[in-house]
């Protein structure tokens, strides 16, 4: 809308329009993005980080963000600094949630989001993904003495999962496809869902393998629980960045691929998934899955749908 047309509208209309376009603005990103130039000019890169995405990305409080993907993103930032010939770079941390992460990447608040974001076709319409760095497997946790050993044993049982996760969708698809009948319970967060399993309200907790492993390792008696049965779905997790910025994507991908090659990423994996980690100094104890190894051996940015088709 031109400046002159604005002059005819009343101030209130202009304000309403401003609010409205701010809401819808994320959908209409007109200018082409050049993140590398932005980083060089401002001397700053903003990383999107998560507060509780298991060992992948979490906070220790006081604005400190750690985890496998968070540390990897910090290294990517340093590689970009070198590539751009900058002497120093300020790394800013912007906590994001499942609800706001895509808009924040689109509108430029966050340059690179490395947390627990699944690369899928729907999201590819809005954002781009770096090469897959972690392949999440949705699995089933049960009480060790429950006698449940596979998805078939869930018939007639109560299954917990967490609201706002893709596991809910996975569960629903499975229920419809297999005709298996079970009752679903939804925790409002992972801690709640695990409590449902712990307190016996639910017989199983279906969730990302690393979240299950993390919750079990932190529970009062880790031996009381086990992860059983087949993998329900496979989801490639990757760093998220703005769409249509091939130079930035190449820079990020190159940095990650180099870390995959020289063993640095494997060291990071060992540090965050096999060794004791703060704040409780308990190890998650989740060895690298075959699917993750595969993704590192052949770096790619395929969405989740391509993984499903392979099965």
């Amino acid at each position: 809308m031109s400046q002159t047309r604005f002059a005819f509208t009343t101030r209130r209309t202009a304000l309403a329009l401003a609010v409205f376009s701010a809401v819808l603005g994320t959908a209409a990103q007109a200018e082409t993005t050049d993140t590398l130039k932005k980083i060089k000019d401002s001397g700053t890169i903003t990383l999107g980080v998560r507060e509780s995405s298991g060992a992948l990305a979490y906070t220790l409080g006081n604005g400190k963000y750690v985890g496998f993907h968070t540390e990897m993103a910090e290294r990517v930032a340093q590689d970009i600094r070198k590539k751009l010939g900058m002497s120093s770079i300020t790394v800013k941390y912007q906590p994001v949630t499942s609800q706001n992460r895509i808009p924040l990447v689109q509108n430029g608040t966050v340059d690179l989001e490395c947390g627990s974001t699944t690369n899928n076709r729907a999201r590819e319409k809005d954002v781009a993904f770096a090469v897959t760095t972690y392949v999440e497997e949705v699995r089933i946790a049960v009480k060790a003495n429950s006698g449940i050993n596979s998805i078939k044993d869930l018939a007639g049982k109560t299954v917990a999962t967490t609201t706002g996760t893709t596991s809910v969708q996975t569960l629903r698809k499975h229920e419809r496809a297999t005709g298996l009948d079970f009752k679903e319970l939804y925790g409002k967060d992972h801690a709640d869902s695990f409590l449902l399993l712990e307190s016996g309200r639910a017989d199983a907790f279906v969730m990302d393998g690393q979240i299950l492993a993390g919750n079990i390792s932190k529970s009062k008696n880790p031996k009381d629980f086990k992860i059983v049965g087949e993998v329900l779905s496979v989801e490639p997790i990757a760093c998220m960045l703005r769409k249509d910025d091939p130079a930035f994507k190449t820079a990020v991908d190159d940095s990650i691929k180099a870390m995959m090659k020289n063993g640095e990423l494997a060291k990071l994996y060992d540090k965050w998934f096999m060794q004791p980690i703060p704040p409780a100094n308990v190890a998650v104890g989740l060895p690298m899955s075959q699917a993750t190894k595969e993704a590192w051996a052949h770096p790619n940015d395929k969405p989740m749908e391509d993984y499903a088709a392979k099965k």
Partner: protein, 228 residues
């Protein structure tokens, strides 16, 4: 896709949204019934001459008024059943209706008490002097006036219950907040989904507001306290 609604067992997001709206309204109206009945009772108890009953009413009000709603729901769902095993079999719908209903009943009790106490003391004495028993005085003299006075604040509580019903998602009720969180994760269309859900919350609460306004007008008695 053929239409907006699924067929043969398929569910579209619109189907799901409408079902979620249904859950929101069911939780809200059941909790509202609990809140009005228990709240009115507790409010009345707080104004009677019997010290023990006044204490009961006050204790009830302060207990449910001073604990955050989400904490109460958590207590009802996770803590109380751990102490009282039979409660484990109670459906979470019932627990959340009781939780939300009792929380709101404390607020209703406060308003009903204020409504009764706003009446001139002479009315109570007049009723008793006529030979009415205390319950009869309440039934025929005090409550008909007090309840009319408290309709506007009760309207606010009724609207609040619709908005507060969003906590039900914490105990596995598939209501609108849960729908919004889940559907936006699956579709990555958070803005559109939250706009739709916001609209439905607005429509629901506003409808309650309009209905209450009609009730208020119908019940208005010219010349009485609170009537214009």
């Amino acid at each position: 896709m053929q239409g907006c609604f699924g067929s043969n067992g398929d569910i579209t997001y619109l189907d799901w949204l409408l079902s979620a709206w249904g859950w929101t309204l069911s939780v809200s109206f059941c909790a509202l019934a609990v809140a009005l009945i228990v709240g009115a009772l507790m409010g009345i108890l707080r104004t009677v001459p019997h010290k023990g009953l006044v204490f009961l009413g006050n204790a009830w009000t302060e207990l449910f008024r001073n604990i955050p709603l989400l904490v109460q729901i958590f207590l009802w769902y996770h803590v109380v059943p751990a102490l009282v095993p039979p409660l484990r079999e109670v459906p979470s719908f019932v627990l959340v209706v009781l939780g939300l209903g009792f929380f709101t009943s404390a607020r209703v009790a406060e308003q009903v008490r204020a409504g009764i106490q706003s009446l001139p003391k002479g009315q109570r004495y007049a009723g008793l002097a006529l030979g009415l028993t205390l319950p009869q005085t309440y039934r025929y003299v005090l409550l008909p006036m007090a309840m009319r006075i408290v309709i506007p604040p009760l309207t606010s509580e009724s609207m609040n219950i619709i908005k507060n019903s969003s906590v039900a998602f914490a105990v596995s009720i598939a209501e609108m907040t849960m729908f919004a969180m889940q559907a936006q994760e699956e579709t990555s269309r958070g803005i559109e989904i939250y706009l739709a859900v916001t609209g439905l919350y607005f429509v629901s609460a506003f409808a309650v507001n309009r209905v209450a306004l009609v009730i208020e007008k119908k019940l208005r008695v010219p010349g009485m306290v609170g009537a214009h």
